[in-house]
Amino acid sequence: MEKAKLQEYWKINLGYLIGLLVTWFVVSYGFGILLAEPLNAIRLGGFKLGFWFAQQGSIYVFVVLIFVYVALMNKLDKKFDVHED
């Protein structure tokens, strides 16, 4: 495949990475640590929200992020014909 197309593929990949890593940062370091105190004023049943993000929510989001990336990349690989067999 020609170089320009591969560079475009790589650029889109980097775009996905930035978006997903920003989310990754916001739910864990943002909601779970830096903003935990103000968020604790909000309740989710018996949980204070900041505490919930630190001990539960961030982990759930981590799992979702990986599967979103897998789906995005499988599609992208096909589109640019760089997928395996």
Binding site: L6, S28, I33, N40, G45, F47, F62, I66, H83, E84
Partner: protein, 594 residues
């Protein structure tokens, strides 16, 4: 049937399964031995990764740690799961495309330098050895507590089992044993958690249960916060560590996870690049099951403990207290002679109940029937000593669960320790037979001879690990936690830069790796070994503890390698092409050896 009989039965059965798998999965080539022939399905690899990852510490100690630290314990929950996002997005697919056997392989080839390869081998060996010694100790502890054999006998038994399947099957044997071990450990973890959740919160799902109410209609976490304030502990849901330190420790653990050689190498075992991505996702699901349950157990156990012991007369305590008192995980010193247990935190004139790290029982009993200690009492009012491991180990008894559940916890603890030990031993043996012998000392070695060296290296590594398990140097426990900081400060930046920056060259990588490593190690050694008296926030750099300093080391590594690479020559043409090829999945093909 008694607990003893159940334990022998269940542990014996799981061991028979592991040995059976070892015979079935015998490795015939170096490729099978190092990366299981790169033919492991992504879900299987996810399970194996999860078992590999979750050590005796995750299984036995983590819930207890969180129980005592409350919110501050979140660093472990986020830190030991968030790294998988980095793995799946930034490392695993590219390293799989690279398609060799080890992390030093990548470092050596990408940076066209045997110096870089050697630094990587040394780091990999150091990280893996400190880790594995801790696992062997864990095996011994579980054996001695549940089967009432001597710790050393337990370690030798564990060594024999690991020896059998690691030497015979290499990565192939280890992978399929780890799959079985995952099931054993997760079942053993979930059963008591679910029972406890039903008992305390009336909800069968622990993840929801600890946000629910007890039978008195008060939210459990609110109740815990109130109890903590009343007894002089920091509030459970807000904690007391400075924010910057919580932040730094979480980064160090996350990045360290993504930089640990025994975790990275698991992604060399799947057939394709896209398998490597999704495999990290499966691994995290399997890990998250335990990691989201742990804080629930922590909350239940903490409440239960305070309810059961605080201001209660020793003579009226349930049987489990006295049973675990004998193991030294619990101890009570009746300082004011009232026959009741005072359990108090620092803000209510509490603190360590006595001097010394562990209770030293004198074999005499006091007037309430408690075991007396020779430790000197401290002058605060707290009377209770609790080891964090009690929270998971005693759970089945606290919940009055049947004997087979107690036996299951023993088998689970062993599965967690053995699976992690095996993964680490393989990294050690591969480093020796592949990275050192094949790649540096004797490149013309035959496949058969290399395989033999790999098997010998596993054998020797098991002996050394066993030796450290039996004669633990005092610093093992301390050092294991720092393995993450060191991995974060050495491997992670240069792997990332090796993939995402074509301009990155060997000069940058080597200086970056060495400065990151030296800075982090020096900081840790200074505060932990040379000047432990100064190990407090007043003296720390930016208020960051030695546990979190790997984060700073990592940043130094990034900056140094970036700057040095810009003022030294660009890497050769073929290396830039190699980086290009890493970025596109097509043509990953075989895990080509040479």
């Amino acid at each position: 049937m008694s607990v003893q009989v159940w334990t022998y039965l269940i542990v014996g059965l799981t061991f028979a399964i592991y040995i059976g798998i070892a015979i079935w999965a015998k490795a015939g080539s170096t490729k099978e031995f190092y990366v299981a022939g790169a033919g492991v399905s992504p879900i299987m690899n996810g399970m194996a990764t999860a078992a590999d990852w979750m050590s005796a510490a995750s299984f036995i100690s983590m819930a207890g740690l969180i129980s005592f630290m409350g919110y501050d314990g979140s660093v472990y929950l986020m830190g030991w799961t968030g790294g998988y996002v980095l793995l799946a997005l930034l490392l695993a697919p590219y390293l799989r495309k690279f398609g060799k056997f080890t992390v030093p392989d990548f470092v050596g080839d990408r940076y066209y330098s045997n110096v870089a390869r050697t630094v990587a081998v040394i780091s990999a060996l150091f990280v893996s050895f400190t880790y594995v010694a801790g696992q062997m100790r864990g095996v011994g502890v579980v054996f001695s507590r549940f089967l009432e054999v001597d710790i050393n006998t337990g370690i030798i038994l564990g060594m024999t089992i690991v020896f059998f399947y690691a030497v015979l099957g290499g990565m192939k044997g280890i992978t399929y044993t780890q799959v079985a071990q995952y099931w054993v450990l997760i079942f053993a973890y979930m059963v008591p958690a679910i029972f406890l959740s039903i008992m305390i919160a009336g909800n069968a799902i622990p993840q929801f249960g600890f946000g629910g109410m007890g039978s008195d209609g008060v939210y459990l976490l609110d109740k815990l916060d109130n109890l903590h304030t009343e007894l002089g502990f920091a509030p459970y849901t807000t904690g007391s560590k400075p924010m910057i330190d919580v932040f730094a420790i979480t980064v160090a653990l996350m990045v360290g996870t993504a930089g640990l050689p025994h975790v990275i190498v698991r992604f060399f075992t799947v057939p394709k690049v896209r398998d490597a991505r999704i495999s990290a996702g499966w691994a995290l699901i399997f890990i998250a099951l335990l990691y989201t349950t742990a804080p629930a157990i922590a909350t239940f156990a903490r409440l239960n403990l305070i309810d059961t012991v605080s201001n209660q007369a020793y003579a009226e305590l349930p049987g489990w207290f006295k049973k675990w008192e004998k193991t030294g995980l619990l101890a009570w010193m009746d300082k004011n002679g009232d026959g009741k247990i005072q359990y108090l935190g620092k803000k209510a004139n509490g603190g360590d109940p006595f001097e010394g790290k562990k209770p030293e029982f004198t074999k005499e009993t006091g007037k309430s029937g408690e075991l007396l200690m020779s430790n000197k009492p401290t002058d605060n009012a707290n009377e209770l000593y609790i080891d964090k491991d009690i929270m998971v180990l005693a759970n089945p008894e606290i919940g009055r669960l049947p004997n087979w559940v107690i036996a299951l916890v023993a088998a689970g603890g062993l599965a967690a320790a053995l699976s992690t030990a095996a993964g680490l031993l393989l990294v050690i043996s591969t480093s020796v037979s592949h990275d050192l012998i094949k790649k540096q000392i004797n490149p013309n070695i035959s496949e058969k001879a290399e395989l033999m060296y790999a098997r010998i290296a596993v054998g020797v590594a098991i002996m050394i690990a066993g030796y450290f398990g039996i004669n633990p140097p005092g610093f093992v426990a301390e050092v294991v936690a720092f393995a993450f900081g060191l991995a974060a400060a050495s491997f992670f930046p240069i792997i990332i830069l090796g993939i995402f920056s074509k301009r990155m060259n060997k000069e940058g990588a080597i200086t970056g790796m060495i400065t990151g490593l030296v800075f982090t190690a020096a900081y840790i050694v200074y505060f932990k070994f040379m000047n432990p008296g100064m190990n407090n926030p007043d003296h720390w750099l930016l208020g960051i503890s030695p546990e979190g300093i790997g984060t700073v080391g990592m940043m130094i590594n990034f900056v140094v390698s970036f700057v040095v690479s810009r003022i030294t020559p660009a890497p050769p043409e073929e290396i830039q092409e190699l980086v290009d090829s890493l970025r596109y999945p097509k043509g990953a093909g075989e895990a080509s050896a040479h």
